[in-house]
């Protein structure tokens, strides 16, 4: 697969790699929302964590880890960049097509952008569930 420069850049210099604690830690943290999507046997798993400033309701930090191809890594890296500073609603407005466009993903890699959108929705839904916020009608529908 030959990739465009933006994918290569995100792949080689991934932004915001990491997490806000172990799986057990983040489960109990109310200010952190976790999205874990994909499956190892499908060849990609994305983990996206958002840390929300509970006073302002804005996403103050986002971290990712990804098992997957170059496009999957680039898509999740980009998602963390875009999420920072956004409100939950603004985060939910991110669409996979925007990721495709920004990274110039080839057609066979569109599923990577879908997975990134799923991860965003899952992380926000997790945060909302932990804090007793009403689930967005849209987020309840899993893909």
């Amino acid at each position: 697969m030959s990739y465009g420069p933006k994918i290569i850049d995100h792949y080689e210099n991934p932004r915001n790699v990491g997490n806000f604690g172990t799986q057990a830690d983040v489960k109990t943290r109310k200010d952190v929302g976790v999205g874990l999507v994909g499956a190892p046997e499908c060849g990609d798993v994305m983990q996206l964590q958002i840390k929300v400033d509970q006073a302002t309701g804005k996403i103050e930090d986002a971290k990712f880890k990804c098992f997957g191809c170059g496009s999957a890594i680039a898509s999740s890296s980009l998602a963390t960049e875009w999420l920072k500073g956004k409100s939950l609603d603004e985060g939910l407005a991110i669409k996979n097509t925007q990721i495709v466009e920004e990274l110039s993903l080839p057609p066979v890699k569109i599923h990577c952008s879908v997975l990134a959108e799923d991860a965003i929705r899952a992380a926000i839904a997790d945060y909302k569930a932990k804090n007793g916020l009403p689930a967005d009608a849209d987020t309840a529908q899993s893909r």
């Binding site: 697969m1 990739y3 792949y11 991934p14 790699v17 997490n19 172990t22 799986q23 057990a24 874990l36 999507v37 994909g38 499956a39 190892p40 046997e41 499908c42 060849g43 990609d44 798993v45 994305m46 983990q47 880890k65 990804c66 098992f67 997957g68 191809c69 170059g70 999957a72 890594i73 066979v108 599923h111 879908v114 997975l115 799923d118 899952a122 899993s142 893909r143």
Partner: protein
């Protein structure tokens, strides 16, 4: 010597032409360009002499006689001719009779050039048994024996596997079939074997053998099919009809330059086989041992001893193959990852061994060749280890593994 990049470690895909091969071919493009079918002038005679010499060189590497070699466009065509041509010639009942036309035995880890002709025959009224190897990837004589039926007409098994390099028990299978007294034709796809390992079709009781030129430092677009002429004399239905070249098995003007190159490649292979084998098996062993010693959760796929000297197939847990290849782009190799295949499916060979989809996605195949150096292998080891470490730092699965979470027990939201 300074290393040149990228480093080619994909010799199971194809090999560079040996310069001695190119040199042998050159006169046949411009001066000795005749058609070997032209029987009435020196141009034709010259070309025919080139083909005849090549036929002997190819026969020698297989322990066959020159009259038993049919030149083709490559191993894919050889496999098609052997399997389809053999099945159509030896069918028990004609198409449309409502009865099974005949039984064929092959395995699930064959190359597509064997699987797909078998599947087509299955649609056309033949019955096919696809043997499933155990996790070491080796098909044994007992497995074949247990699958034999009274209406079995053809057994087609690869000598060595292209993805994992494992070696099937071809001589034992040949001996078993011969001893059974049944009239079963035995074909082997020896694309990864012939010209690299000692072969004697006679002693090994092989009836049909496919081989390729470009896997043994010869040109692409040429291959051969060995067709046994004595005990028994094997017949095949031709798939390409026309001028009746190659004893009617395969019509079409001969690819003289390619054939001359393949002959030369076989001659060199005979001379250098022992040295290549000794050198490459040592290198491969070092490569495998070094990466597995430096990295946890890493496994070498396929039988530990029964395999080719030059192919290493390694799964690196918790990292994905395509991103791994991106991380060591200075090394040209291949992966069983779905993301590197046109079908978006992980390697069916590794799946066939029960390796598990996630480890199939995480595999690299590194295949060494005649000009691979120790320095190149050292560089590859260093690069691969660094790449795996880098990607594991990115991998949520590796974190979970480290935290003691059993990944097989997690409910994944597959897509």
């Amino acid at each position: 010597m300074a290393l040149k990049f990228p480093i080619y470690l994909d010799h199971a895909a194809t090999t560079p032409c040996d310069p001695r091969v190119v040199e042998a071919m050159l006169p046949y493009f411009t001066e000795k360009f005749g058609n070997p079918g032209s029987r009435n002038h020196s141009f034709g005679w010259e070309a025919e002499a080139g083909v005849d010499a090549a036929r002997e060189q190819v026969a020698a590497v297989l322990g066959a006689t020159d009259k038993e070699i049919i030149f083709t466009s490559g191993a894919t065509e050889s496999n098609n001719l052997a399997i389809r041509g053999g099945a159509l010639m030896y069918e028990k009942h004609p198409a449309g009779s409502g009865k099974s036309r005949g039984h064929i035995i092959t395995s699930i880890i064959e190359h597509k050039a064997v699987l797909d002709p078998c599947k087509r025959l299955q649609k056309e009224g033949f019955e096919v048994t696809f043997l499933e190897p155990p996790s070491d990837g080796v098909i044994t004589a007992d497995m074949v024996k247990n699958a034999l039926r009274d209406d079995t007409i053809l057994v087609s098994l690869m000598w060595a596997n292209n993805e994992i390099g494992t070696i099937n028990e071809i001589p034992a299978i040949g001996a078993m079939l011969k001893a059974s007294g049944r009239e079963v034709i035995f074909h082997t796809d020896a694309t990864q074997w012939a010209g690299k390992m000692p072969t004697s079709v006679d002693k090994d009781n092989v009836d049909l053998l496919s081989m390729s030129s470009h896997k043994i430092y010869g040109p692409k677009g040429v291959g051969a099919l060995y067709v046994r002429r004595r005990r028994p004399r094997v017949r095949l239905a031709s798939l390409v009809d026309g001028g009746g070249q190659e004893r009617g098995f395969r019509s079409g003007t001969l690819n003289v330059t390619g054939i001359v190159g393949m002959g030369k490649a076989c001659e060199i292979a005979m001379q250098e086989m022992d040295r290549d084998t000794a050198r490459l098996s040592k290198m491969r062993k070092r490569l495998e041992e070094s990466v597995t010693a430096q990295l946890d959760s890493t496994q070498v796929n396929g039988h530990r001893e029964k395999r080719l000297p030059h192919i290493a197939n390694i799964s690196f847990g918790f990292v994905e193959g395509e991103s791994l290849m991106m991380a060591c782009k200075e090394i040209a190799c291949s992966s069983g990852s779905a993301c590197t295949s046109a079908s978006l499916e992980p390697s069916y060979v590794l799946k066939g061994l029960g390796v598990g989809d996630e480890l199939a996605h995480s595999s690299l195949r590194l295949s060494l060749g005649r000009w691979t150096t120790d320095e190149q292998v050292d560089y590859a080891i260093e690069k691969i280890v660094a790449a795996v470490k880098k990607l594991r730092a990115l991998s949520p699965l590796y974190d979970m593994h480290k935290e003691g979470i059993d990944l097989s027990k997690v409910e994944w939201a597959g897509h």
